[in-house]
Symmetry: C2
């Protein structure tokens, strides 16, 4: 061993002990004839004191930033204590030192606030990883994993590894494929998730399975997607939705406790998908703040059971509202005194292409009980008050109203709500609110192909009450224009998402376990019997031999860690992430391969010219 202690270990109790440390030179400071060095390792920083007697050695062997150093000496009490670090009461009076390795000058500083840009940090990721900020993220990631494993172990879950070289069954996202040399002309695929394997484990009776496992999706990468990502993947049998919800609320609460020291004692809120869309315009609402959507007008088919209050805004000659499919208001608390500049900025904000609204209507609910709106020409005080009441606005609030086509307007209202939440400081970093979103639609309509696609995945069960509807109806959509009238449009899924502070951190479902229903599902998605057999014959086969009722969930591990770490970016929580082109710029991958490899795999390039 090159050391007797770590750089984070020594305290006043070790005074006068002779010790050896090893680590990296963080800083070198000369004060007259003596030299102070901060020596850093994974565990902390210890101050070293090189007395005048070592100056000749130091001149012969000068130290530089990030040099690897081994030092022996005596632990002294510091005269000038540093209360910011645990080792701040002592320093090491060096008696001898060895430079274990030198370092070139790093391309950026190894500090919390580094001067390295993103590209430089990624290229020299091995240096970036030395920064305390990144190290803390990986430590948090490890702690989340450890807590997860402990909780699941205590609840009888078994970690069972599923294969990485599987079969390509693209459904939604693209597979990464792997040419097989031993089976020329054939390919493996890397798993997008262990979905079918964990279901087979349930058929095999393994009861409670989990894995913290890498998954792969060959998608065009948005800012915060990675081609390889990690899931906490779980499955249980002989359970109903309620059992899953309770088990995995328990998991997340345990992680809060182990990792953040937070006792999450409140009941986890639950909300149907329809309620979430109606109230928040979003299936993963941030419920840390109260602002809700007021649906002043909406197309009757989207929420058939909701009360139509469009009379509040229509019939006054205000074409923007009269012509719009949807009109949605939110009340921003305490913003009635926003200046013209501020409201103009909000208008510009919703007009950006990402939001895509044509404008924004304001109603100021003044403290004195009067109203002032940007549409006073069309709405009298009585109307304005009625709208304000509907939007649950109080004196002092500012009502913001967007109007346009249903889907875009709902999303814009949701975005605006989130923006105001952030602007008003209502999305507190240290506040965590969990939410289950339930009862998603089972199917989505794919316009281009005029058919149904699975909203979650093809293994998700419909709600028990909807099974008859699904089995007994023909999935074919005869009249594309009226797809919403097809009985399948109303089928709800036995599916659930866990949402934390506006982020979906996990999702799952109770699965289909009946062969006939699974075949019907595949057929509904446009798969004929041959394709079903080719892609999923093994699963349909397994369902013939006593498949138990089962269900599960998967958490996005990278995302969960980033939220717990208070960061927007999952990349900061992955040791060696890829950039937006799917490249690892440090190792320079992907890259070309040898002619011999092409030859052995019996493939060749076919580049589009």
């Amino acid at each position: 061993m090159f050391r007797t202690h770590t750089c984070g270990q020594l305290r006043l109790e070790n005074k006068n002990e002779t010790v050896t440390l090893a680590g990296w030179v963080q800083t070198v400071r000369k004060f007259g004839s003596i030299t102070f060095v901060d020596l850093r390792d994974r565990y902390g920083i210890t101050q070293l004191l090189f007395a005048e007697s070592l100056n000749a050695s130091l001149e012969a062997n000068p130290l530089g930033r990030e040099y690897v150093l081994q030092v022996s000496g005596t632990v002294n009490e510091r005269s000038n204590k540093n209360t910011n670090i645990p080792t701040g009461e002592i320093e090491l009076a060096v008696s001898s030192f060895t430079i274990l390795n030198k370092s070139a000058v790093p391309p950026f500083t190894i500090q919390d606030d580094t001067d390295g840009g993103d590209d430089l940090r990624m290229k020299y990721r091995y240096l970036d990883l030395r920064r305390n900020a990144v190290k803390k993220n990986l430590e948090l990631r490890y702690a989340v994993g450890r807590s997860t494993r402990n909780y699941l172990h205590e609840n009888n879950f078994m970690d069972i590894e599923t294969p990485f070289l599987i079969k390509s069954t693209p459904e939604g996202a693209r597979d990464f494929v792997v040419p097989s040399r031993m089976n020329a002309g054939q390919f493996y695929a890397l798993p997008q998730s262990p979905q079918t394997f964990k279901q087979l484990l349930m058929v095999s009776g393994y009861d409670r399975y989990y894995q913290i496992v890498k998954c792969f999706r060959d998608e065009d990468l948005r800012a915060d997607r990675q081609p390889e990502f990690t899931q906490i993947d779980c499955e249980m049998c002989f359970v109903e939705q309620e059992d899953i919800l309770q088990t995995f609320e328990g998991l997340v609460k345990r992680i809060f406790k182990d990792v953040k020291g937070i006792e999450y004692t409140e009941k986890v809120e639950r909300m149907t998908w329809e309620n979430a869309m109606w109230t928040y315009g979003n299936d993963k609402p941030d419920i840390r703040f109260e602002i809700k959507l007021c649906n002043l007008k909406f197309p009757s088919h989207t929420f058939p059971d909701r009360k139509d209050i469009s009379s509040l805004v229509s019939g006054t000659g205000f074409n923007v509202f009269d012509d719009a499919e949807s009109v949605i208001a939110i009340a921003a608390p305490g913003c009635s005194e926003y200046t013209r500049k501020q409201t103009d900025e909000l208008t510009e904000w919703v007009k950006r292409p990402q939001v895509g609204m044509k404008g924004l209507v304001f109603i100021k609910c003044n403290i004195d009980g009067t109203y002032k709106s940007s549409v006073d020409k069309f709405y009298n005080t009585e109307r304005l008050k009625a709208i304000a009441d509907a939007a649950n606005a109080k004196a002092g609030d500012l009502i913001l109203i967007v109007a346009g086509p249903e889907e875009r307007t709902r999303k814009a209202a949701s975005d605006l709500r989130m923006y105001m939440g952030t602007t008003l400081g209502l999305r507190k970093a240290d506040d965590y609110k969990l939410l289950w979103v339930l009862d998603f639609p089972l199917f989505e309509y794919a316009e281009e192909e005029n058919r149904w696609v699975a909203r979650h995945h093809p293994f998700t069960s419909p709600k028990p009450d909807d099974i008859g509807n699904m089995i007994n109806n023909n999935p074919v959509i005869e009249n594309a224009a009226e797809y919403l009238k097809h009985p399948y449009a109303n089928i709800k899924a036995n599916a659930y998402d866990m949402v934390l502070n506006g982020n979906e951190i996990g999702g799952g479902s109770i699965r289909i376990y009946q062969k006939e229903l699974q075949e019907k599902m595949f057929a509904a998605l446009g798969m004929d019997a041959r394709e079903q057999q080719h892609k999923f014959g093994f699963l349909l086969g397994a369902f013939e031999y006593g498949a138990p009722p089962h269900g599960g969930i998967a958490f996005g591990f990278d995302r969960l860690c980033s939220i717990l770490g208070g960061s927007e970016s999952i990349r900061d929580f992955i040791a060696f992430p890829k950039n937006n082109s799917g490249r690892d710029v440090m190792i320079d991958a992907p890259s070309t391969i040898d002619e011999k490899q092409f030859e052995e795999l019996q493939i060749k390039l076919n580049l589009h010219s």
Copy 2:
């Protein structure tokens, strides 16, 4: 929840309780008007009693093997107790039951000794996994993983995930490659191990890293290899070999304790590679039994420091020994009275192509102190006694002698030693003996290319005393015939293997951490500067910025589990293994992919006609 208890849970204490169970029908037995069913789940088996009153229901809903059943009823004390199972004192008097799912008749029986052949079992792996024998293996695997994680956690190791989509740097084994769609014409590779990444983590200061991680090698599969396999992968910095040996002896002892209940208190033996080859003819000797090789004759260059005792066997006109490069004897304890039939069988055994010897010479060391050999014509009693003494044979032993070319003969002697160990019952299943094999040669000679290859891998450090030799000599081999005289032939590696009962369960090394030495190593393996930079530029770069001394080890997780589980086959310890052609016959992978996938990846097939 579909149950109140599991099928392994109920005891006499639960008598008279009303409970609900769910599980699979193991057996149905009718006794007159009552029906007994054994209901099975992951946790055990519970006997169900269907009284006469349920016969109408049973006739309407007949039960079959592997049906999924939910039953409610009362826990009764059995009159006829079964002491073989934990639930054997009770039975469940069924009041109502529901068939949750039916099952076709399984293609083989779900029992410890199944009637399913290997192919059938693999095709229906989801049924095979229901068998207790397989379940126990996966439970053991989980326990080994859990024990490993706990020990490493307590020793400050951090689980850090390394990437799966990396760069192809084939060196020895072939890489599996993954075409990149976003970077057309380029490929990722799947890691053969996280070697360079764990070294980068050391450069980053992570100090103690571990991962239980999938690795991939595209090799022609021998009986017990898998294209994807799992490693316990570890690395430490600021350590020397001794620290690693102690840390990981500790790990394996902990696994013995946690998983097998064995307190392994003895000191773990250590042996140099040369000693292992000399004494056992093998670099992973099974030291559970005493038989050792007696090197009666050997080429002087192979073990230059060993005593030449060839005068014992040469010069008597026995051409077989006189002409042989090597003559090696072992003494089989207590076998002096082997019959002619038995010795003939042994002769046939060594003549098989796998062993490849021309014959076997016997010397019987009779109980009465006399000797009788198959070569009495050439050797008098005095000579025979001298050979017997050299071979450490006692009265009652049978000496077996093989002769031929060095490498083949040494291997044959080792194989024969193992065969006799097995035959004589000296390799006891419940006996575990650990051994470190140390000081491997750093290089092996590749005859076809007349160059050095790394015996372990190109990141392994030479012994400190050999660094000068390596740096200061030219690796080029001028005279192929005399490669053994090249200074590189004598360089020892700072490498170690852990051997358990004759199996290599782990191996590792102290790594090179000096840029200059790493470049010299790459050059010695025939890589020019350009290739070094293309393949390992990131590592050489990292070594410029303060790389600490470091080293590590990797354990073959599948193999370790199979040995602890007392099996020869790793396949039985993998939930979804592949066959010898690298196929998953259950899901039928690899398989063809769609034209659209080829198009997007910009590759096409180039099948050899």
